[in-house]
Symmetry: C3
């Protein structure tokens, strides 16, 4: 139950640094590696010889060599050579369009003829010296839509992340949700509040007083298939909030690329980009560590929620105003999945 | 395949000391907590908002607060409040009758209109300064009836507990089994034997010689749904055995509350009450430790027996005289389960 | 999907040294123990009393005593005694023909009337002071036929065992495969090559120069049900290769007894017999350790290959010339399995 004719984040260049990577994306077992010329390549993780996972092998001259009997697989899914064998008649294996961009490996798990790199969303901040990015990867046993719900309703911060970014005012401040085409935006503005610990740290990193009051904003944006970007920040109170001048605020974007592994598990690529002190690598590492701890707090909740729901699959859940972001995001997904089923040869999730 | 219109032990007051407890009882996922006024409350472990387990949350002013988005659940299964929400229309969740008594939390997993605290069995020894109790909880992956079999046939002590309470004379002495209404009693009397290590310890604790000979008794009593109480003890030989004067014997009762978690797993509440030196907390701790080690010896046997039986579900097992206690107990259970199915609105296991 | 009317290796005498052994062979749960007179016995691992695994008990005077309630099981599958019981009417349990030979316990999991010890294959090297044997046991989660494939195509050594016995010349040298009745033989001869590390060690152990060149051979022989013996060795180049005089070569036989546990798991008994320095126990231990490390390298590959194949059960695999050994072995197995199904009362895998 996920869109397949679309781009997903599959990993990072480090994951294929000198070795292949085996990873399941949308139920497809895929081996990623650097092909000739260094470009990212992705093929079925299944050796046509005897079914061994190609990702257990090694890369030689841009070819993926099976670690069992030495079959040499090329980027096109065709066997290039095998010791002592004529390989011309070997059956080809499936390939997947894969692109290295923004510090990630992107893969298209669906109909390959539709895989157009131009459909990868654009981000201004990656590969941009005015911004710094730090992030990581968590494997979580839940439906990818539960993670979308999580990120499109930040009232959970008050409870799940009470010691870092949560605060009572998130709960108390209504959010507004709007749909723009295939995007869903949920936003919340809080005025004249005390900054919670994470934002106190960010204020200090911006050479601003950390004892408030501040204005705080959260603008969550879902885009298909399952990306959630969240503009977050605080500005000294009364300086214009989200629109305050850079010297009066700490501003960053939480980046969430949620990639389904199976129906009930995900690869969760989380991170944060910021404009302040982008050259400060120690700050990047510190933020990354803090954010990693925060997102680890979600894991048990999501996995236990998933188990509860699987045990009672027909039970109706509530759809409150705070859930509007998740509800609308699911509607977009459902609409695009219906389109994908109706027209399997059309890329719908651009 | 268990009785549901009856009381089971779900835990102890310590389990809900300042925090909720999530525990599955007879396939029902239940969150236990202290409600307003401090009384034990039990509700479905399923937040009506998005299905998170309520037991991952916390208790505030007698309400159970969901740890995901702050929904506040009351003892009646009705949402009391939620930040920024009108909760009047929220669907109620299931509640379970729960009672704190005898140092345990009792729960009624079945038809709630039938839950009458008067149906909780009476025990003279709990909350009685003339008696001391110590016990613990084990989780075991077996059908609860295999544990009843275990406890209603103590010849296994000779083999499973050979270094503590087992002795050859248990095997050699026939038992007698009788049925009294819904109770089943299996008893065995041994005369002029050497006490095994556990009873040597108890004799010393009673200021009695530990080098025998003694008369020893075991009187196992099953009562529905799945409680087994075992009167055990030794008296100096020839002093009247079970009926000997207190100064001539060491006497205690093994308390076994067997609570089904699923069809093939149990929460096993084990313990012992004794009349001798009830104020001696060190003795209580020592007995508890020894008993815990003994009951841990049963676990592997029961779990491996369960696997063997699941692999050959149609295979007939023997029903010997020593098995009469378990066989009769199962007949009581079967009869009451048939009644429960026929009259779901009648409490049958009182 | 395995032959059952045949002998399999179930364990070693050490496994039943003073205690019973519970082991599943071809889906049969079996308890092995030493009966009266010390002979190996094998019975169902299921106590006729209450289904406990007999292998959790102990052996007393050649009888297997159930560790739950003391039922005493004899080698014939009949209950010999039980405390306080008349056992004459107890149902017998299944017994399995078991033979101790060659330092192994052999078991016949199928129709017992056909179990003829004369059908155990003959080996000249076991119990022969001119030879030394060292070996071990691995449990691997794969179909036994994947292990046969592995051993009948040694080109995998170049990849899986690149630091010990692998070398490029294995890949480059064609093998020849022939079928002789129920046996399949795949052989490869390499001339004038450098010996890889394992064989350098063996040359030194034979007081021969270890810096080559040598002639090397590999002669893999499959026999039903799932044994693979591999004659391996190196001789100083030009001295006659396989047929060189003993003083000019290092020669040994890899012994692989592959015993199905279930459809997708095996007990893999691996080892090596050698003629050189058979009295040198330190050398035996050293070879055993090296071989154990080598065979451990196969495990992950086989288990991951198995998962890949289970995920795509209908996918055709290639059958190259290097696979001929495995392919022909499977044909023998298939033919014998068809015979076994057609004539269940005939031993077909002799």
């Amino acid at each position: 139950m996920f869109l397949k004719n679309t781009w997903y984040v599959a990993g990072t260049p480090q994951d294929i640094d000198g070795k292949p990577l085996g990873r399941t994306i949308c139920n497809e077992r895929i081996a990623f590696f650097r092909g000739e010329g260094g470009q990212v390549s992705a093929v079925e993780d299944f050796c046509p010889h005897r079914g061994a996972p190609l990702s257990l092998g090694f890369v030689r001259d841009g070819k993926l060599v099976c670690g069992y009997h030495g079959l040499e697989m090329g980027c096109e899914g065709k066997t290039i050579s095998m010791p002592g064998q004529r390989v011309r008649g070997f059956p080809a294996i499936k390939t997947y369009a894969a692109v290295e961009r923004y510090g990630f490996i992107w893969v298209w798990p669906g109909e390959q003829s539709l895989a157009d790199p131009a459909l990868i969303p654009e981000f201004e901040w990656f590969d941009n010296p005015a911004w710094a990015y730090g992030g990581g990867l968590y494997h979580i046993n839940c439906d990818y839509r539960l993670m979308i719900d999580n990120l499109m309703d930040l009232t959970h911060e008050t409870y799940v992340h009470s010691t870092s970014i949560g605060q009572k005012e998130i709960d108390e401040t209504p959010c507004t949700t709007k749909v723009e085409g295939d995007s869903v935006i949920t936003s919340r503005q809080m005025s004249g509040i005390q900054p919670p610990p994470f934002w106190q740290m960010a204020l200090r990193a911006n050479d601003l007083p950390d004892d408030g009051p501040v204005d705080r904003w959260q603008i969550c944006r879902f885009t298909p298939p399952s990306h959630v970007l969240i503009e977050v920040g605080v500005a000294l109170a009364g300086k214009g909030g989200y629109n305050a001048a850079p010297q009066d605020k700490a501003y960053s974007v939480v980046v969430d690329f949620i990639t389904p592994e199976t129906e009930t598990s995900i690869h969760y690529f989380w991170g944060m980009v910021r404009q302040f002190k982008p050259q400060d690598a120690a700050l990047t590492a510190s933020i990354r560590e803090g954010q990693g701890a925060i997102f680890a707090e979600d894991r048990e909740m999501l996995e236990r929620q998933q188990k509860n729901i699987l045990a009672q699959p027909d039970r109706q859940l509530l759809m409150l105003n705070i859930d509007a972001g998740g509800v609308q995001s699911r509607r977009v997904i459902d609409r695009l999945m219906a389109l994908e089923r109706a027209k399997p040869n059309t890329a719908v999730a651009a």
